[in-house]
């Protein structure tokens, strides 16, 4: 097995919006190694979200190849993408995106339900993930609307950790948090990275880049700078 966990070669993504073609990605080459902490930066519309979606198997390229954990996802159908996503990727969103009808603990259980884990094991692992995300145990039974933003993001992080994925993807993880809470969350993510998880964060906040060991700058769908 190679050391590279995400490999993109000459990736292009073209959306058609009415009569216009939008070149969201215009020949991107990226290589991310296991254990890396990568920040992807760029202005709005630079293609960073498209890039993240592709790594997260939510989208496939128009041309070029994307390999996740040595699996070429370029030609896969929806169901196969779902399986790869489930086993390899943990998502952290700017809006937290918790399921409002479920408690914190149950939200963390959700990915494990879809990977068909038995209930008892599921619950134990969800508790463990909440502990990793440093949510106080007394909040495990609370619904998302009873939690603060920081607490909700912790639940979201625990959910991303649930299936123990090799890659964590975060899209503006501190975007909806005050700076103090944001720093705590970034410290947490940084700790998880030190424990071995590959972390890819999309942001336009230069402060976040300070945590990472690699920064990819995007401009108009192309890599303008690749700083190690």
């Amino acid at each position: 097995m190679s050391d590279t966990i995400v490999q993109m070669e000459d990736v292009k993504k073209i959306y058609t919006l009415g009569a216009n073609e939008i070149h969201a990605l215009n020949g991107v080459d990226i290589s991310i190694k296991k254990g890396d902490f990568v920040t992807i930066m760029g202005a709005s519309g630079s293609g960073k979200s498209t890039l993240l979606n592709m790594v997260g198997c939510l989208d496939t390229p128009t041309s070029g190849t994307v390999k996740i954990n040595d699996i070429d996802i370029t030609e896969l159908n929806d169901d196969k993408l779902t399986t790869i996503r489930r086993d390899n990727i943990g998502f952290i969103f700017q809006q937290f995106n918790l399921i409002p009808t479920l408690t914190a603990l149950e939200n963390v259980e959700i990915p494990m339900i879809f990977s068909r884990m038995p209930p008892n094991e599921r619950k134990a692992r969800a508790l463990h993930a909440l502990e990793q995300a440093k949510l106080e145990i007394e909040y495990a039974d609370h619904r998302p609307n009873e939690l603060s933003g920081g607490q909700q993001q912790r639940v979201a992080i625990a959910r991303a950790l649930a299936n123990d994925p090799p890659i964590l993807l975060a899209d503006e993880p501190t975007g909806n948090l005050d700076s103090k809470t944001g720093k705590i969350i970034m410290d947490l993510l940084s700790q998880l990275n030190k424990a071995g998880t590959t972390l890819i964060v999309v942001t336009h906040d230069p402060k976040l880049a300070e945590y990472s060991n690699k920064t990819i700058m995007l401009l108009d769908g192309e890599v303008s700078d690749d700083i190690n």
């Binding site: 995106n97 009808t101 259980e109 990977s115 959910r159």
Partner: protein, 387 residues
């Protein structure tokens, strides 16, 4: 084995339950549609069935009898023909009947009835005495039907007048309801001698013959045997098997029941559309949630299962409530329309309720199919972007 604990721990079910509770008012409205639909379908079925039962009940035990009439153009059924019939197997009794219609008077009141001359032993096979006794052969006594006794306020020992003759009433018969052989309730039964005295000019031949079959399933064979034997050269008699009446009553009421249930099912159709509507709204509102679920590893099948389970849960709960209400609604309808609620607790009634419940659940499931399919086929990226 699936225990209650397993069901409680099933997250799909939990999700379905909580999602239904999320918009309680909307869920209740959709459920009311299904409840009404189930009540409509099953109570209409019950109504049809009870109407049938009340009609067939009032006809009594007509199924095992055959009536032999003279063919059109013939005056009567002859003694010789009756003898021929005796050769046919499967017959329990052959009862030749003379009958006439006449005016009956008692203490300045009058009514119309059918006067019969049926052998005393044969009569006992057809009717039951309520008060008094049968007439003796050769006497001028008579036995009257319940309806005649009622109308004329007759008591035992009273003397009724038919034409110029006076007949002493020695027995009053039990009420039997409508029949196709003899009009028991409006009948006056007397001896052969008295009948001859009343109608001296009548033909020697019988007006008709009643045949009782040993077993119900022999009726059709007896009918064809008699026709073959007696109508060999020319058509002299007409055979009327009363089981045909039962069959056609059953047929007719089957159509009525189906028609009533058809009307009931319109309300269930409307309920199905409202389920479709509610579930579609719910998928739209939860688009982003669906996107999140897909992002964290839900397959299309998972999403499909979740939404179908929601529709199923709603359908089961609403249909069971509907089934329960049906018993109440059925009671109301039966006491108002058929005036007899004893049919409510029959096996057929329970079957109709079960049918209503199954239709209700199926409707919910069908209504939930398109929304579930739509939700499962959302592209995760589009769903996540949805605001």
């Amino acid at each position: 084995m699936i225990s209650i604990e397993d069901i409680r721990n099933n997250m799909y079910l939990q999700l379905a339950r909580r999602n239904l509770k999320r918009q309680t008012f909307r869920t209740v409205l959709a459920a009311i549609g299904i409840i009404i639909g189930v009540i409509a379908i099953s109570s209409m079925g019950i109504l049809g069935n009870s109407l049938k039962l009340s009609v067939t009940d009032s006809f009594g035990d007509i199924g095992d009898k055959l009536l032999i009439y003279p063919a059109p153009g013939k005056d009567g059924v002859s003694e010789k023909q009756v003898k021929q019939m005796k050769k046919i197997s499967g017959i329990d009794a052959i009862i030749p009947v003379y009958s006439s219609g006449d005016r009956v008077e008692y203490k300045n009141q009058y009514t119309f009835g059918s006067v019969y001359d049926i052998d005393k032993d044969d009569l006992e096979k057809l009717v039951e005495i309520d008060e008094g006794q049968y007439f003796k052969s050769g006497s001028t006594d008579c036995v009257v039907g319940a309806s005649i006794a009622n109308t004329l306020e007759l008591k035992l020992g009273g003397k009724i007048e038919i034409g110029d003759s006076r007949l002493r009433v020695v027995g009053i018969l039990k009420e039997r309801g409508m029949g196709f052989d003899i009009d028991t309730d409006t009948g006056i039964f007397t001896s052969e001698q008295m009948y001859r005295k009343l109608y001296p000019n009548e033909e020697e031949e019988y007006d008709f013959v009643i045949i009782k079959a040993e077993e119900l399933d022999q009726v059709n064979d007896i009918k064809s045997d008699i026709e073959k034997l007696l109508n060999k050269k020319e058509e002299v008699i007409t055979v009327f098997a009363t089981n045909i009446i039962l069959e056609s009553i059953n047929e007719a009421f089957k159509s009525i029941s189906l028609f009533l249930m058809g009307i009931g099912s319109i309300s269930l159709l409307v309920a199905g559309v409202s389920i479709l509507n509610v579930m579609l709204m719910s998928t739209m509102e939860r688009t982003k949630e669906i996107g999140v679920m897909k992002a964290v590893g839900a397959s299309r099948r998972d999403i499909l299962t979740m939404f179908l389970l929601e529709a199923l849960l709603l359908g089961i709960i609403a249909s069971l409530i509907g089934g329960l209400f049906t018993i109440g609604a059925g009671y109301l309808i039966l006491s108002l329309i058929v005036d007899n609620t004893s049919y409510l607790l029959s096996f057929a009634t329970l079957l109709y309720i079960l049918e209503g419940i199954i239709f209700g659940i199926a409707t919910s499931l069908i209504g939930g199919m398109y929304p579930a399919w739509k939700a499962s086929n959302m592209r995760p990226l589009d769903a996540l972007r949805y605001e």
